[in-house]
Assembly symmetry: C2
Homo-oligomer: 96 residues x 2
């Protein structure tokens, strides 16, 4: 299934910058960056559970936030991209 991950990380200090880097790194390992703080990941249920555990451990829950959107398996018709950077076919480019 496609999972969309969006995040806001507070980068007011170095610890925040580190959290941002770490969140981005974990997301990069599981999906495709489609915008600055937006990743699309094709995962199964077990991978999704593990991914959430990992990310939720990194963030500072009082300062940062992460949102997870499950778009299911038939997601291609549900996503539209307008403007810079062409949309990427997540399943064509990912190796798990």
């Amino acid at each position: 299934m496609l999972v969309l991950i969006t995040y806001d990380i507070s980068t007011k200090n170095k610890a925040g910058e580190k959290r941002l880097r770490n969140v981005a790194k974990v997301c990069e390992n599981h999906g495709i960056r489609v915008q600055n703080s937006v990743f699309e990941c094709v995962v199964n249920a077990a991978q999704f559970t593990q991914l959430k555990l990992t990310l939720n451990e990194i963030i500072n829950k009082e300062k940062d936030s992460i949102r997870y959107y499950q778009l299911g398996n038939n997601y291609k018709s549900k996503v539209e991209h307008v403007g810079a950077k062409e949309s990427i076919d997540v399943e064509d480019t990912l190796i798990f």
Copy 2:
């Protein structure tokens, strides 16, 4: 249906900052800001078409991007929020 709107607006100059303000303003008029560049909007098909037309006119398609994700009507179980700022019930708080 719930539509998720995510955007990256290039704010390297004043024109970009203005586009960012305008995109945010249109989104604020149609939905709830859930993260810095992420809005959730509950719209019908006609409203969604109009919203896209309006936003796509504002952005600079060579520099900015907008993505639209259709989450359908049964979206509540598909969205998870972790961390700062509580999740908002979009339908409870919006007036169209």
